[in-house]
Structures are given as C-alpha cells and as structure tokens.
C-alpha cells in the first residue's frame, strides 16, 4: 500500500512524529488548566454552590421582558421566520459568480450558488462565501469623509464638482482608476461622466492583470480578449503555472467544468491533466502528472513543446532542445487528442502566451476547447497601461485622481511613490467602502456600497448578463460609486432608474422571449442571469510575434527564483479584514493567519532549516514552510498579506510581497530572479493545522489509476471487500424507519479549494478563534480538508479529503457521553444537544475521525477574540436557526440539521415526500466541483444510494469505488468516500 504522509516529519520518522504530536497535544491540554484564568477545582465548587443558591433567589425575580414588534405594514413577500432567496451578482478582484442570497427577516445571512448560471453554475468560492461578512464589517465607512473627518454628501458633492470644474478649466489632467468594469450600465455612467469632464482619463487597474493573454491574443488573433476555455471538453489539459482551480481568471467556472470532464460517477471519460509549475498550487495538486520547473524556464519548455509537436506534425524544425524536461509524453498525448486538448499558461509574459497560442493553433484546439464567441471580460487591464499612468502620476503630470475600488498604494510594486504622488494631488477621491492604504491618503472619501446593498449588472462574458440587486437597506450613509458619478455629471436620476432605462434601451431589444419590458425585467431579476445569443467573431490566427517570442526562450538560469502567487483565501488582499478568510487554512500548506516562504525540501535539508525558521528574501523576513513539491531553487510566497490599513483583523498579518513584483518591460510578472536568500536563525510561530486531528496512519485515502479503474472499478478499494467479509456485530442492526441520511464524497472531484469550509462556517455560526488558538489545535471548522502527500517529497502526489462528522450508526462518541448529550437520531444522525453537554470531552477522545470540536473558551462576544462576532454589527451575520455555542460545549457537523428540518417541515405541510436532492447541506450546495452528494439512503432511487449504498448493510455496498473511513472499526459511518482516480500515463 502507498504510504501517505501529511508532513515531512511524519514521513521521515512516523514514530517520533507521533510522539511529538501527542506531546504537543498534551501540552496544550495541560496549558488549559493553568493558563487563562487560574481557577482550580475548588474555586469551581465554591462558585457552583453560590450559583445554585443565587439562581433560586434570582428565580423569584421577574424574567427579562421580551418585546415582539410586528410590521406596521407587512411586505407581501416577507414571512417572519422564513428565508427569501434573491439572485444577485458577485464580482470582485476579477472574480465573477452568480449567487443567490438567503435573506432572513431582512438580513442577508448566507450566499449560495445560482444553479441557473451557465458560468458559475451552482458553485461559489471561499471568497464569494466570505464576502457576506464584509457587509457587516465595523471597518466600513459610516459617512463621507474629508481628510478623515465626517462631512455630508452635499458638502462632498459640491467640493468635488467645484474642484473637477476648476481642474477642467485649467486643462489639468484627472485620472479615473477602476478595476475592470464588467457592468455595461456602469460603463455607460462612466462614459457620460467622461463626456462631462473631458479632462478625465479613465484607466483600468488590476493588481493581477491578465496582460500576457490580452497582448498575445491581440497579436495572434487581432483581438485583446480572454477566450472561453472549455475544461469539460478537453481530454488533455496542459497548464503552465495557471492555478485555474484556485485563483486564475474564473476559478469557480473552471473547477465546475474541470470536474465535469473527470466525473466517473456518470461517465467513463476522464481528462488527463499535466501541470508545469514551481510552487505546489491547488491545481498542481490535482494534476495527474505534475512537473516542477522554474518559472523562468517556462518559455523554454513551451518552445520545446511546440518543437516536439511540430515534429509530430511532420514539419520538424532545426531548433535544438532548450530544457532537459522530457516532453514526449505530453506532446504525444496532445497530438493524439488534437482538437480535444487545452494548453494554458498563467504567465503574464506575452511571449509565453504567444507560444501557447501557436501550440493550441497547431493542435486545432482553437474553436473547440478554446472559443472566442463568449470571451471572458472579468479582467481587462494591462500592466503596460497601468505603468504609463503611474509614470504620469509620479512625474507630476496629473492634478487629480478618482479611485474606484482600487488600492495601488498597497498592491503595486511602486505603491510607495504612488502614495506620495496621490497625497500631493489637488484632488483625490476614493469610492472605497472601507479604509485602505490608498484611500487613507485621499482628501475625499465618498464611500461606495457593499454589493449586497447595490443595484447593478454585469457582463462577465460576451452576451452573458446578470443583474445585481440590493438585498438589504444600506447600513451606513454610503452611496454607490455609479450614483456619485451620476450626481457629479449633474444627473439626479437614481442608479436603479438609470439601470432599468439602460436595460430597456440596450438589452431588452436584443431578446425576443418577452414582449413586455416589465416582464422581462422581473424575470431576469428573479433568475439573476440572461443569456443572449452571440455571433462569434471570425478570428484568424497569425503567427505574429511568435518568432520573437521563441527567441526569448532561453535555458533556465541559475540562482533563486521567487514565485509570487495569489492565495486561495485572500487573493490579492482586498478581503484581508475578513476573519473567516484569514483563518481558512491554505489548501496545501494548511497554514492560516500568515504568509510564509515555501522552500524546497532538499534545500531545507541542506540548510538544516525547518518549518517556522525565518529566512530573509531580499531583506524581507519570512517564516519558512518546507514544501514538498516545491521546484528546486525556487521559493514561493503568497501575495495579499501585509496590509497596514485594512481593519482590526487584517492589519499587520503577514508581509506585503507586491513590492517585489517584477516590472520587466513595463509589464508585471509574478516571479523574481536574482534573489538573495539568507537564513537568519530566528524563529517565527506559524498557525499550522495540517497535522492536527490525526487519524494515525490508517488507510484513509484510497486511490487508483484510470487504467486500473477501467479494468476493475473496485481497484484501490480491494481492502473493502475484506472488511465487509468481517462484518459482524453483537449489537442490533440499526433500523431507520423513515429517512437515513447519507453523504457521498467523491475524492476524484474534490479539488481542495476550501469553499465548503467557509460555507459551513457561515451556515453554522462557527467562531473564528485567532492564530494563537489555531496553534493550540483548537481550530473550530466542522469540515476540514485533509491533505495527504504520497511518494517522493521532491514531487509528491497529493490527495485531498474533506472530513466532517461521519454520523456513524454505531458511533463511538455516543457510548461514552455520561450525560447522553450526543445520542443517535431515528434518521441516522449523530445528534449533539449543546445544552445537555457538560464538556467532559470523552466524545472528542473517542472519535476516531477527530471531527468533534470543543469550545475551549467563549469565542462569541468575547473581547479577547476581537473578530466579527464581537460586535453587534458582526453578529448580524449569525444564522438564527443555529444555536451560538458557548464555552465548555462540544460541537460538530450536523449534516446541516436546520436545512434537513426546514425541508422536512415544508414537505409535511405540503403533504408530499421529499424529492432526492431537495435537501442540501451548506457544503453540498455550493461545491463548485459537485464532489458532495447528499440524500436519503432509504430511498433506493436516490443518487446517494447509488453511490454509497446503505452504510449499515454490507449487502448493499454501493459504487465499487465507495468506502468508509476506518470501516474495520465497525462504526458504520453515513459518509462514504469514492476512491481518487489518477489518469497517469505510466
């Protein structure tokens, strides 16, 4: 059997590792009794005695009076106690997602995927889920500000307009800097604003632009657009450091399509995925074949691949091979699947993308897996354009600046000088809804609204539209940026009316489904999306720029290279003040609350540096994480950290790496050559959760290869048969008269993106506990994604496994509870009655899956945990259907019992049975890859029954790939896992 390990220490010396782990756990447990309060058992007894006497006396006083305040006039669509769902659009940091927002009694409390969207389908990402909390952030601006002092909108409007007019009459240049505007109506507002003030220049600025693709496509196809990538249609995917399952362009869409192309539950087809990259990314960890390489090598490898393919096409050139990588397998796979391959690159260097275009053209992929009729509009800026206006700004050629949702002072390599220049301008205005490094330097802050308070629309892809609608009244005295621009143009219309008018004149005539605009509008608003037919441009490929690009391909250089990447949680750092995202462990390193330097294993061994040792990269000190799979001579560090003005949670977390971004040829490339790396000998503690909640090296992950699976679907899962043979019990067979809830997890679909962890956190009021507590092994997430490595540490295979409460029908935790706080339900759920729990933690110790969590401290409403749930505003996000647990209580996954009960109640009232798929726990609902299937195992037509059978009956084992965790313990879990299949070529 393959050996799986979670950290290098475990791999090298499992025994010693186990010992240190146990010791560490023991230490933390010991610390609890002495640490925080120093109360002893006797103090407790004393307090207990007084409490009983006191409570008896208090009981004779009156109870607090609760008020019940009805509506004055009840809105028709609002039913107290029932949630409404509204379709709206998330678009931020270049990421688009069509979402449904759950609104309970006027408060948005959860974001779900919109299943009608052809782009994001039903999926969301961790960022989308967590964006909800940004609405209830204390750091938001409460009113317009002038140099930090509150002013009224009237004062701000008059002053800004006067200043704009003055600068206009003097003919001085004013910049309007925005991220990519994918809203057609906002674009129209901006263009009318620009007409009113001709001295204003509009520039698009993005911290991570896609300039490489845009420039290369302009050369190759004559249009600077990002094409539509069809990962579902591709049979061979070759990605050069494009983290398309994590952060690249449209990850939710790509994850869903990628998983569809590899879904073995419904089909027998599976794409093969090659990944060339330096730092182990989420995408790389899902690849069938991963080839570590230095970022500077990429151009050469691409050139070699092109050469190899040309050879196969029968027109070999004379160019000699530039790198030592063996590309024959990749090339022959691609060549054999001509028209069904997909080669992409995450590089921002136009030459790389030009060669990628040549390869895809040669392979006839253009038009099949890469199409241009619905091109992606989510990223529009180029680094070169930004470089031009930034040069103008820093040279003093600009008199004023208006910033809409951009933060170049933080996320541009020249942020310092940009900041200096902005603070000297005659006029500087920011529309940011909360303070940031750039806004704090502006004279005027005209706070925009959160997207859940705004009207708007979006065109993420040509011809694909969606609408944004407010789901809550504005919380503060803020105003949508578009509305501000309209006011300053002298237009008093509300943005809502403007939007409707724009849709009536521009979009309504382009459809023929509705014959009445109101119908059209209401229906589109309800669905959230609108698909209009498009006629794709006929694009002709030309090899313009290819020759120069190939010339730039040089063999790899020596020396260190630094890879800068967007982290899954924080992306480019805009949401740094979001405690949910800060506490989301990195999918690979499993580190939260910091960025760190991932260093190669071999180098760390040579230097004798271990995790938490500190190195200085070009003078920036960073803690080390020894990363298996990190390419030699490379170091990877996440961007998005090191914010200084973000809010109480985000300030000073990690180091800002944007300053090191490489500005070669006025572009921006996210790797740096020629580094100095020094070992400092210092130590820095990291919140590393990867080795917590260990399952002691038992066969947890099971996997096979596609070839094996094709021959024998049970391959890799042979041990299960053995376990089923030994199925015997002294207990009665558990009976479930009605439902028997079960969850299937397809390890082959799970990409480890972390969306479910945050979705669960939002749904179930899971507290944020901070770095110190995470270090103390108390992370509260009900669903954790275990990451296992196997094979050589230089380039390991990676497996992800979401683990939540397994809802065992023969649960070890249930038997040991002295107060029966965790009994089994008649529907197969392992229940947890918080109010009965006295906190013995016997259940925690007896759970073989380590899925139970203990509230060691009061995490909600406690000043020591100054995150979202410590303010009235932050607590508005709490789900009213889920108890907020207090100190001393055990909690764990409930299969989202509140959702099960809600649908059961609905079905009972409607006198019908529950349909399969009607109930979806939070993790299931928004999983972009559809890795989870939830349902009733008693219903033999349900999807979950087909996949995992009936967990309590060895006669019905389900899909041959199905297995249960630690089945040999006879715990009879209700969660089934489907083996991971790798489509390797060996």
């Amino acid at each position: 059997m393959e050996k799986y390990w979670r950290s290098l220490e475990e791999r090298d010396n499992p025994k010693e590792f186990k010992k240190t782990e146990l010791l560490a756990e023991l230490e933390h447990k010991k610390a609890v009794h002495t640490q925080e309060n120093g109360t002893s058992r006797r103090d407790f007894l004393k307090a207990f005695g007084f409490t009983v006497a006191g409570s008896a006396l208090v009981a004779s006083c009156k109870k607090p009076v609760e008020k019940a305040i009805p509506f004055l006039i009840k809105p028709e669509e609002v039913t107290p106690g029932k949630a409404n769902y509204y379709a709206t659009t998330y678009y931020d940091q270049g990421e688009y997602c069509s979402v449904l927002v759950k609104v309970r009694d006027g408060r948005p409390i959860k974001i779900e995927g919109n299943d009608l969207s052809p782009i994001s389908r039903k999926g969301t990402s961790a960022r989308v889920q967590a964006s909800l909390l940004n609405l209830y952030d204390d750091a938001r601006f409460k009113s317009p500000l002038k140099n930090g002092e509150p002013v009224s909108w009237k004062v701000a409007d008059e002053a800004v307009v006067a200043s704009l007019n003055k600068l206009g009459s003097e003919g001085k240049m004013v910049l309007l800097i925005t991220p990519a505007i994918i809203s057609p109506t906002s674009r129209s507002v901006i263009s009318s604003f620009l007409t009113a003030y001709p001295n204003i220049t509009w520039q698009v600025y993005e911290p991570m632009p896609a300039s490489g693709i845009l420039k290369a496509n302009e050369a190759s196809f004559g249009r600077a657009v990002i094409p539509d990538y069809h990962f579902d249609k591709a049979e061979v995917i070759v990605s050069f450091a494009a983290d398309f399952l994590g952060t690249w362009l449209s990850p939710v869409e790509y994850t869903s399509k990628y998983a569809a192309g590899r879904d073995l539950r419904n089909g027998r087809r599976m794409s093969r995925h090659y990944q060339f990259e330096a730092a182990l990314s989420v995408t790389g960890s899902n690849a069938d074949i991963r080839i570590p390489c230095k970022p500077s090598e990429e151009t050469a490898i691409l050139a070699d691949l092109l050469q190899e393919l040309k050879k196969l096409s029968g027109s070999p050139g004379t160019v000699s091979k530039l790198t030592s990588h063996d590309l024959t397998a990749v090339a022959s796979d691609l060549w054999n699947k001509r028209g069904k391959g997909l080669v992409i690159s995450g590089s921002n260097a136009p030459e790389n993308q030009t060669i990628v275009n040549a390869i895809n053209q040669l392979l006839e992929n253009i038009g099949s897996t890469i199409t241009f009729d619905r091109s992606l509009l989510a990223l529009q800026g180029t680094a070169e354009d930004s470089a031009a206006w930034i040069a103008g700004l820093t040279k003093g050629q600009v008199a004023g600046i208006i910033l809409m949702d951009v933060n170049p002072v933080y996320d541009h390599p020249e942020g310092g000088s940009i900041g200096e220049a902005i603070s000297k301008l005659e006029l500087s205005v920011s529309f940011a809804d909360r303070n940031d490094e750039t806004t704090s330097l502006c004279q005027w802050t005209c706070p925009g609204t959160h997207y859940l308070e705004s009207w708007g629309d979006a065109e993420p892809k040509t011809g694909s539209y969606s609408l944004t609608q407010p789901v809550i009244q504005k919380l503060f005295d803020s105003r949508q940026a578009e509305e501000s621009l309209l006011r300053w143009t002298g237009n008093e219309i509300s943005f809502y009316d403007y939007l409707r008018q724009h849709w009536q004149t521009e979009i309504y005539p382009r459809q023929n489904e509705y014959i009445n605009f109101t119908d059209f509008w209401n229906n589109t608003l309800q669905k959230g999306i609108l698909e209009l037919p498009v006629t794709g441009p006929s694009l002709n490929y030309s090899d313009q720029g290819l020759a120069e690009a190939l010339e730039k391909a040089t063999p790899s250089s020596d020396g260190w290279e630094l890879v800068l990447y967007e982290s899954i949680a924080l992306k480019s750092g805009k949401y740094a003040n979001n405690p949910w995202l800060q506490e989301l462990p990195d999918p690979i390193a499993k580190i939260s609350w910091d960025n760190f330097a991932s260093v190669p294993v071999k180098w760390a061994e040579e230097q004798k540096i271990a995790n938490e040792g500190v190195i200085a990269i070009n003078g920036i000190e960073l803690p080390v994480f020894v990363q298996p799979g990190q390419a030699e001579n490379t170091i990877a560090v996440a961007l998005g950290y090191g914010r200084t003005i973000a809010g109480k949670t985000g300030n000073g977390i990690g180091k800002n790496m944007f300053r090191l971004v490489n500005q070669r040829n006025h572009g921006r490339e996210y790797f740096v050559q020629g580094l100095t790396v020094e070992v400092t000998g210092k130590k820095y503690p990291l919140a590393l959760s990867q080795t917590h909640h260990s399952m002691e090296g038992r066969p947890i992950v099971r996997e096979s290869t596609f070839d094996e699976w094709s021959r024998n679907p049970a391959s890799g899962n042979e041990i299960r048969e053995e376990h089923l043979k030994h199925y015997t019990t002294l207990y009665d067979k558990p009976e479930f008269p009605g439902h028997h809830w079960g969850l299937a997890v397809d390890l082959n679909s799970c990409t480890g993106c972390g969306n479910c962890t945050i979705a669960c956190q939002v749904e179930n009021n899971i507290p944020v506990i901070g770095k110190e507590q995470v270090r103390a092994r108390r992370i509260m997430h009900w669903i954790r994604i275990d990451r296992y490595f196997s094979g050589a540490p230089e380039n390991p295979k990676v497996s992800f496994q979401p683990v939540m409460c397994q809802h065992c029908d023969n649960a070890p935790c249930e038997n040991v509870c002295p107060v029966a706080a965790t009994p089994h339900s008649s529907e197969g759920l392992n229940q947890m009655a918080y109010n009965r729990c006295v906190g013995t933690r016997y259940c925690l110790n007896n759970c073989p899956y380590r899925v139970r969590r203990f509230n060691w401290l009061q995490f909600h409403g406690n000043d020591k945990f100054d995150y979202a749930s410590n303010s009235d505003l932050g607590r508005m996000v709490l789900n009213p259907d889920v108890t907020v647990r207090s100190r001393g209580v055990v909690e764990k996954c409930t299969f989202c019992i509140q959702r099960i009960q809600e649908k059961k109640h609905l079905a009972k009232v409607e006198q019908r049975s529950i349909s399969d798929g009607e109930i979806e726990p939070a993790c299931v609902q928004s999983c972009p890859s559809g890795a989870f299937v939830f349902g009733d195992m008693n219903n033999h037509d349900s999807r979950v029954f087909r996949l995992i059978g009936k967990s309590s009956d060895p006669g019905i084992p389900g899909d041959p790939r199905n297995y249960h965790l630690l089945e040999e313990l006879h715990t009879l879990p209700s969660v089934g896992y489907l083996t991971k299949i790798r489509n390797t070529n060996a």
């Binding site: 019940a68 006039i73 107290p80 019908r912």
Partner: protein, 381 residues
C-alpha cells in the same frame, strides 16, 4: 435578542413616595387652598392637580375621583380604563382645549356615560393637565415589587440560624425538639423553595404581562368569533405564527372605533400608530429558550393541532396569558400521545416499514415520537 427591561425594586423611591403622600394629605387638610390658579407656581399647580386627580381636595364632589377609574400604579386585575400614565402620554403634546374636550365632551360610549355628570371647573382641569404633563416627563409610578419569596427565604434562614444557635450554644428552651423541629421545618421549606424555583427557572407559566394596548382575545375570538388564522396568518406555513401587522388591525378598526369595554382610548392607539408609522411594541408572552427550535408550521399546518391545545382557552382571556408551562417534559409527553396523520399525509410514504406493520396490524397507531419527534435534534440545533 429583544430588548431587556428589568423591573428593579426601588425601596428608596417607595419610601419617598410614601412620605410625599403623607405630606400632601396633611397639607391638604391644614393649608388654606388658594382660589386662583394663575397666581400659583408650576409646582403648586402640579400638586393641586395631583390632589384633584386622587380626589383628595376637600370639596363637594358628585362623582368619583379620576384615580378611581384611571390607575396610578399598575394593578394585577384588569382595568379597561386607560391609566393615568397612558393619558398623560397621549395628551402631553396636546393643548388644554383638546384635553378639556376629551374629558368634558367625550365622544360617546362608556366614557360619555361616566363623564356625563362631570362638573369640573377649567381651573381644576388645568391643574390635572399640569399634573399629567409632569407625569409624562417623569414616568409612571412603579409597581410595588413583591418581595414575598425573598423575604420568606431570608426569614426561614434567620429561623434556621437561630434554631441552630439555640440548639448548640444558648440552650434556653427546655424542650429540645422545638428548635430541632424549627430547624428541620425551616430547612425543609427552604429546600423546597430552592427546588421549586430551580425547576421554574426560565419558565413563565401563567405569565400575563400588561400589553401596550388592552387587546382582548376574549372579545375578538370569544365574542366576535374571529378565526385565529385571520390575524396569525403565518401559523400554518412558517415557523412563527406571526403577530398581525398594525395595518391588519385596521381592516376592521378603520370602521370600529369604539370597544365594548375599553371605549375609544385603546383603539385610538392602533389608529394613531398606523397614522404615525410607529410600531406597536407588544410584550412577548411565549418565550422559548434560544436553543429551542419550534415551528408552528409543523404543528398547525401539518399536524393540524388546535391552537388552544397549547395556548389554552384563548377565547376566554381578556389578558393573554401563557397557558402551558412550555417545559421540555410537556413537549415530549405530547409527542408521545399525539397520533400522526400517517396514512393521508403523503410525506409519510417514506416510512415503508411502518406502513407495512400498520397494514399487518402489528401496530395500531403511529404517534409523533415513533417518527422521531423526540429526537434531540428535532428541536435543538
């Protein structure tokens, strides 16, 4: 979380009020009463108004004092008439004329009947208005808090301590069983109190607070026969039964402006609230702990329970009160006894085995706890 107000005992204020009352009564007997209102100071007017309101002025009266109908302090019994505090708030912002009209020329109904023979001079009325205005700013007199339980507990504690001291140190009583019995009795009684109070902790059976409007379920349900669901519209499809929005009251009360018991004053509150766009803040009676999930929809919409099975004889309640103790034992017992509409409700088709057993006659009825109503996580999550 709703707002929480605690009624705090205020013995000091009580004492002052008592002193004040004694002085005013004595004062009214001995001090010569000044005839002219204009010459008096504000304070004087208020004091005089108060005395008039309470009927303490020594002059010929053909009618009862204001305070005999309009409570000054909250009472345990139902008084349909508006209290002094309510009147003071209502007329605080209005001029004397409207106040005079309201008192002297009431619009009909019960109030007109009672106020008919009123013969009050404007000057006296002015004083009353001044008194009420000052009350509106100062707030109502607080109810006398009940100390009974606490006092009893402390008294028993003293008895207990004394008995113990007597038994061990003083030994003056010849019959030793007397302090022993006293000790055991006091201790036992205290223990009983503690146990009872501890069980009652957080429960509010028979809780019947004063509401901002004297809304009578007895009138609306009992006399008028209005269906519960007419007002509590969401009881059969939402978790919460729903307190009717104010505009729903106006469906009828846009025409019905006078009640049989309360006259115009109470209904006027609703109309005023609707006109001003202010919310009525009712006092919530049925308070389940926050870790309990209860859905009206399942009990009313699916199980078709009668409302009064839990809420009691609402049609007889002038003041709404909590009928059941809403304890977990009460819930669980009802689940054990209540039959489920197992055959007709399509939802239960899922329970194939139970249906088979039912058909085979192995079981005769399905009760709520057979289908998991008493699972912990049916209510606690």
């Amino acid at each position: 979380m709703g707002k929480r107000d605690r009624i705090s005992p205020a013995p000091a204020r009580q004492g002052r009020l008592l002193l004040f009352l004694v002085i005013t009564v004595l004062g009214s007997l001995f001090l010569p009463v000044k005839g002219s209102a204009e010459s008096g100071s504000g304070d004087y007017n208020i004091r005089r108004g108060e005395r008039f309101f309470k009927g303490l002025l020594p002059f010929d009266r053909k009618h009862a004092a204001c305070a005999s109908c309009h409570n000054l302090t909250p009472t345990d019994t139902l008084n349909w008439n508006p209290s002094a505090w309510e009147i003071s708030v209502k007329y605080a912002g209005q001029d004397f004329e409207s106040f005079r009209n309201a008192v002297m020329e009431p619009m009909g109904g019960k109030m007109a009947e009672v106020h008919q023979q009123f013969n009050i001079e404007d000057e006296d009325l002015r004083h009353v208005k001044a008194y009420l205005d000052s009350m509106a700013t100062k707030g109502p007199a607080s109810a006398r808090p009940t100390f009974f339980n606490l006092m009893l507990f402390l008294f028993l504690g003293i008895v207990l301590t004394w008995a113990l001291i007597e038994l061990i140190f003083i030994r003056r009583i010849r019959y030793r069983f007397v302090p022993v019995i006293l000790f055991l009795g006091a201790f036992g009684w205290q223990a009983k109190m503690v146990v009872e109070e501890a069980i009652r902790l957080g429960r509010q059976q028979h809780y019947a607070p004063d509401q901002p409007v004297k809304f009578s379920h007895a009138v609306h349900v009992g006399e008028q026969g209005i269906d519960c669901m007419y007002c509590h519209t969401t009881a059969d499809h939402s978790k919460s039964a729903g307190i009717p929005p104010t505009n729903l009251c106006l469906n009828c009360h846009v025409l019905i402006r006078e009640g049989t018991h309360s006259g115009r004053f109470e209904i006027a509150k609703i109309i005023e609230a609707a006109e001003k766009g202010e919310n009525l803040e009712w006092i919530r009676i049925h308070n389940l702990p926050e870790h309990v999930f209860f859905s009206h929809a399942v009990h009313v919409g699916a199980a078709r329970l009668d409302c009064n099975q839990c809420h009691g004889p609402v049609e007889e309640m002038h003041i709404m009160r909590q009928h059941a103790d809403l304890s977990m034992g009460w819930c669980v017992n009802c689940h054990r006894d209540t039959r489920v509409d197992f055959v007709d409700n399509g939802y239960y088709d899922t329970y194939i085995k139970l249906h088979e057993q039912l058909r085979a006659g192995k079981i005769d009825t399905i009760r709520a706890d057979h289908i998991g109503a008493n699972d912990c996580m049916s209510c606690h999550y």
